[in-house]
């Protein structure tokens, strides 16, 4: 069981979350050529170490978050909202959710 510190709700079991995918992928514009989309949709690195992943707190706040996780130890190094505007708003918040 992973325990994921949701930036909005606090630490929760991973069974409340749903795995999204590789958070390092930059999706191309809709009108981009098929080659760019092939790269974004199908090409994945199989990382032995720390990787960025998107998860959704499906049975919680339903927010998409970016989790920095070590694939060898399952250790989670950082978590932030996927939406950059929300991430910066949360960082400025006077009372961020306790991550412990």
């Amino acid at each position: 069981m992973l325990r994921i510190p949701c930036p909005f709700c606090g630490t929760r079991d991973h069974s409340e979350f749903s795995y999204g995918g590789d958070a390092s992928v930059e999706y191309p514009a809709l009108e981009a050529p098929a080659e760019a989309w092939l790269e974004a949709v199908f090409q994945r690195d199989n990382i032995d170490g720390v990787q960025l992943e998107t998860w959704q707190h499906l049975h919680g706040c339903r927010m998409w978050i970016v989790v920095e996780r070590d694939t060898r130890s399952h250790e989670i190094h950082s978590v932030r909202p996927a939406h950059e505007g929300l991430a910066s708003a949360l960082a400025q918040s006077a009372d961020p959710v306790n991550e412990s």
Binding site: R3, L30, P33, A34, V41, W64, P81, H83
Partner: protein
């Protein structure tokens, strides 16, 4: 072996006499007894028969590592097989039986297989596949199937009940700051120290009472009771009869709490067991150590057990396990028990494999009035059903040689101790071999976790206590955000060094020496595996089945490793150890499933019309998690009669159907139109307010994700419907797009599936039904509400509703959405009106028949492998705008013109029936995957025969003039069919648009 219950001492209640049944005989023990101690006190020596050879087996230990006394507890459906007698608490009326024996464990006809032992050696199963040596005859799977029946009958363990488990179980969740596993000196020290520092502590103990190894020692003036009182006083939450069976990521521990296994008549409301998911911020493992056996001839005979086991029986249960006792050891730990047993009246001989021993230890032997022989070890046990005498080996240079024989009725063995590193191993931390202590000790970990006490290789009680306290200090420091540096005592602590001893043998003497007694793995099996080329410890394990029994190698693994190391000419750490995996001790499947059985196996979703549907004769079926009406049978009707009547009624007059399970999403915000235009493959930019449009969404990879209608309600507000199956997926995808890719779009999406109930009103008279139920009948006129028109209005009784003229059935039809709370009343009104027009209620089966006739697709067709062209909807996709999937749907393979395309299917002989799931094949080529498949079939009331939908390579144009075979080899056989357009009824849609 003559065991005796002592008149005083122990943690038993002599005033409470408990009767129990063992193999049909009534015996008795006391409250506080384990089944093992009660059987021992009743002088029952043969308690089991071994797995392959049916050798008699008795108690080998007093704990979870037990490999001999595996018994079946309970009667009938409550029967529980392979229970270790050592861990089963005694209760009044307990029924226990021996296993793997006929007629009983004392007289077992199967023991003859002992004589054929050579055929059951290592790798027996593998070799049987290859053919039986020496002639290699009878090889192959066919023969194996025959052997298997015989072998399975002869070799085995307890038999499970074949009925459903009558007990119930629970899942529970917990949180704490510090989890302490084990209540021996180290665990108690850790729990008390942590609790006194003000943190929240849970202490789990697998036994019924706290104490751990302290229970094996003589009682010291109620000191233990005082310590337990102190723990409770400090606020430690104590969970006895609870095993931490696994450690997982994020400080999560799996705990099994045995709630009623010790009760004679458990109350109905109590679960038998409770499986806990416990999340701890810091974990202290004070899991203790297990004493090891030594391999020598007939070391599995009843009357041979670990030295510490006899101490547990003596001091905890007040049973002296024998009179004439030989203690064989290679370390200091067995001497304390020698004196205690002597004091209880036994005569003691000690064989110490070490050549020299410290004076203090020698003095302990003298206290026990024991005859002490150094450089001596057990060679072979005598006695058929229990040890009567022992051949002794003496050390001669580097070898053993025969050195006499002695009578005895109990042999206690200590081959050293193995710290219980299992839980740490679950975290992927490899144990490290300590050559001085001759055992694996815990490796280093970065997790918030400490090992304490003998689990860390510390043998001295006081040092164990200190190590527990040090672990607690590290835990408290960690919780406070600091690095703890409390120094723990070093491993070890005996006065004299241990001399490793794994096997005793002398040249030229054949011995049957067991390494893993539960799976009947002998020293010869290990050597045979080595001769046959097995060098990896992981292969050795699988080939010999060493360590694969229910004890998971607790008794035998180290001996096996040592023998393999010897055979390879290596040291033990070079051979390695296998990885321990959860569970530490067996966990019943019932506990793992908890309450998730039967109707609770998965969540159940009911529509607000559920009761209404039932009251009106609906038969329900599962659609995903939803319960939906399947059909509404009138008296005497079969399902076939009912759905055909319902579908006919919809085409003739009108029908009502609960479609609440469709996904509903509110899309709000100034950029709503832009969002819709990007996610649907067809244009949405110019959908007028008050209109709905059917849309198809693709995935990023260009395949169809879902379809549904989206209604334009107001300038910046839409109401989207999805299929029942993909409601959650579409919602999550929209949220993902808005939160990760298109963060600049000002749109909010909200699932409103629960808020709106939906009813389809379909059929030529559907408008009249609506007219009679809305406040303003003119609002639903054809002019006001044309095909794909949307209306927000009020029903009679001022109930707000949303209506769109949408058709899934191919008839003039409306979808009406109502606030969930109001819908049973509204449904009454709709139904009253529909009934007056000879209408009907219809369910999923009729819905299916109607849509198949029209060639409308559902999840059966849109299975994730289908492109928009495959589904025959390619004309809808826009070429003028980019959208999700537009780039990749143009890939060459997806544009292949022989891809499977949606088609309609008629039986060539219209009287024939065929099945969904069948393959479509060319008549001269009925094999492999064929040319396509059938997704749905129905009897078509409109056409008067069976029809189907399916996919076939190239589609209708390729096959319309050819005969195709619908191949269904394991059900109906082959049926000749014709390929037709999927639009099988009213292809121009006159009924729908008119």
């Amino acid at each position: 072996m003559t065991a005796t219950r002592l008149a005083k001492g122990g943690y038993i209640d002599r005033d409470q006499l408990l009767n129990f049944t063992w193999d049909g005989r009534t015996l008795h023990g006391h409250a506080g007894d384990s089944l093992a101690s009660a059987l021992l006190a009743s002088n029952q020596q043969v308690l089991g028969r071994s797995f392959k050879y049916h050798r008699p087996r008795g108690l080998m230990s007093a704990g979870v590592e037990e490999s001999g006394a595996l018994v079946t507890i309970g009667r009938g459906d409550h029967r529980d097989a392979n229970v270790r007698a050592t861990t089963q608490e005694l209760y009044a009326g307990l029924v226990a039986q021996g296993q793997n024996a006929w007629p009983s464990v004392r007289f077992d006809a199967g023991s003859i297989s002992n004589l054929f032992g050579r055929f059951l050696a290592a790798g027996f199963y593998y070799k049987t596949f290859m053919g039986l040596p020496p002639f290699e005859w009878g090889s192959g799977t066919g023969m194996w199937m025959r052997y298997e029946k015989i072998i399975r009958k002869a070799a085995g363990m307890g038999e499970a009940s074949r009925s459903p488990d009558p007990d119930h179980y629970e899942h529970a969740h917990g949180y704490c700051d510090v989890l302490v596993v084990g209540s021996g000196p180290a665990g108690r020290g850790a729990a008390l120290t942590a609790a006194k520092a003000g943190v929240d502590v849970i202490l789990v103990e697998q036994e019924a009472i706290l104490g751990g190894d302290t229970l094996a020692q003589p009682q010291a003036a109620d000191n233990l009771a005082d310590q337990i009182k102190a723990l409770k006083g400090a606020g430690v939450r104590i969970m006895a009869r609870t095993t931490a069976f696994g450690l997982y990521d994020g400080g999560v521990a799996g705990l099994l709490e045995r709630v009623t296994d010790h009760l004679a008549e458990p109350p109905m409301w109590m679960p038998r067991q409770r499986c806990w998911t416990l999340r701890a911020r810091y974990t202290v493992l004070a899991t203790g150590a297990l004493e090891r056996h030594v391999a020598f001839g007939n070391n599995d005979r009843p009357g041979i057990m670990t030295a510490n086991a006899a101490r547990v029986y003596l001091n905890r249960f007040a049973v002296r396990a024998g009179e004439n006792i030989v203690i064989a050891t290679n370390n200091d730990s067995a001497y304390a028990g020698a004196a205690e047993l002597a004091q209880a009246g036994a005569s003691i001989q000690i064989l110490d494999a070490r050549k020299s021993i410290p004076d203090a230890i020698r003095a302990q032997a003298a206290d026990a009035h024991a005859a002490l022989r150094t450089g001596a070890a057990p060679l072979m046990a005598h006695g058929a059903k229990g040890i009567t005498a022992l051949d002794i080996a003496g050390q001669h240079a580097a070898n053993w040689r025969e050195a006499g024989k002695t009578d005895c009725d109990l042999l206690l063995v200590s081959g050293g101790w193995s710290p219980v590193v299992n839980l740490l191993s679950h975290r992927g931390v490899k144990p490290v071999w300590d050559a001085d202590l001759a055992c694996f000790v815990p490796g280093q970990t970065n997790e918030p976790l400490s090992m304490a006490g003998s689990a860390a290789g510390i043998w001295n009680d006081n040092a164990c206590l200190l190590s527990g306290q040090a672990a607690a200090e590290r835990a408290v420091a960690h919780l406070g955000g600091a690095q703890g540096s409390s120094a723990a005592p070093a491993p070890g602590g005996w006065q004299g060094a241990i001399t490793p001893l794994y096997e005793v043998k002398v040249p030229g003497r054949q011995l049957k020496s067991f390494v893993d007694p539960q799976h009947d793995v002998t020293t010869e099996d290990i050597r045979l595996a080595h001769r046959e080329g097995y060098v990896s410890v992981e292969h050795l394990k699988r080939y010999t089945t060493l360590g694969m029994a229910t004890d998971q190698g607790k008794m035998g693994n180290i001996i096996g490793l040592a023998l393999m190391a010897e055979a390879l000419g290596k040291e033990i750490p070079q051979v390695g150890t296998t990885t321990f995996r959860p569970p530490y001790t067996p966990v019943s499947l019932g506990a793992l499933k908890g309450r998730n059985v039967g109707n609770h196996f998965r969540a159940l979703r009911r529509t607000p019309l559920h009761e209404w549907n039932l009251e009106h004769g609906g038969t329900m079926t599962m659609a995903g998690l939803w319960h939906r009406p399947w059909y509404f049978a009138r008296s005497g009707e079969t399902i076939g009669d009912a759905y055909v009547r319902e579908a006919q009624t919809v085409r003739r007059t009108v029908g009502l159907c609960d479609v609440t399970s469709l996904g509903k999403i509110a899309i709000q915000g100034p950029d709503s139109t832009e969002l819709l235009n990007r996610i649907y493959s067809n244009p949405f930019a110019k959908l007028p307010i008050g209109k709905a449009r059917y849309g198809i969404m693709l995935r990023d990879d260009g395949f169809v994700m879902d379809d549904g209608t989206t209604w334009h309600l107001r300038e910046s507000e839409y109401f989207m419907t999805t299929t029942t199956a993909h409601a959650g997926k579409v919602m999550a995808f929209l949220e993902e797009l808005l939160q990760t890719r298109w963060t600049d779009l000002r749109v909010h999406v909200t699932s409103v599936s629960e808020q709106w109930a939906g009813v389809a009103v379909a059929g030529p008279k559907s408008r009249q039904v609506l007219e009679s139920c809305v406040e303003n009948p003119a609002a639903v006129s054809d002019a006001n509400l044309p095909f794909m028109g949307v209306l927000e209005t009020t029903l009679k009784g001022k109930v707000p509703c949303r209506i769109a003229r949408i058709s899934f059935s191919g008839e003039r039809a409306f979808e009406v959405y109502l606030p969930s709370d109001f819908c049973p009343d509204i449904m009454d009104a709709l139904w009253e009106s529909a009934r007056s027009m000879n209408g009907c209620l219809y369910g999923l089966e009729a819905l299916g028949a109607l849509r198949i006739e029209k060639g409308h697709v559902t999840g059966a067709e849109l299975d994730g492998r289908v492109t928009i062209e495959d589904a025959g909807l390619g004309r809808m996709a826009s070429d003028k705008k980019p959208y999700i999937g537009s780039a990749l749907r143009k890939r060459p393979d997806m544009a292949r013109d022989n891809r499977p395309r949606l088609v309609g299917i008629f039986p060539r002989d219209r009287r024939e029936i065929f099945n969904a799931g069948s393959l479509l094949c060319a008549p001269d080529h009925i094999e492999g995957y064929g040319e396509g498949w059938i997704t749905a079939v129905t009897h078509s009331p409109a056409l008067g025969h069976w029809i189907g939908l399916g996919f076939i390579s190239g589609g209708h144009s390729q096959w319309h003039d050819k005969t195709v075979v619908c191949a269904d080899p394991i059900r109906k056989g082959n049926t000749a069919v014709e390929i037709v357009s999927p639009h099988m009824f009213d292809p121009d849609g006159e009924r729908m648009y008119g």
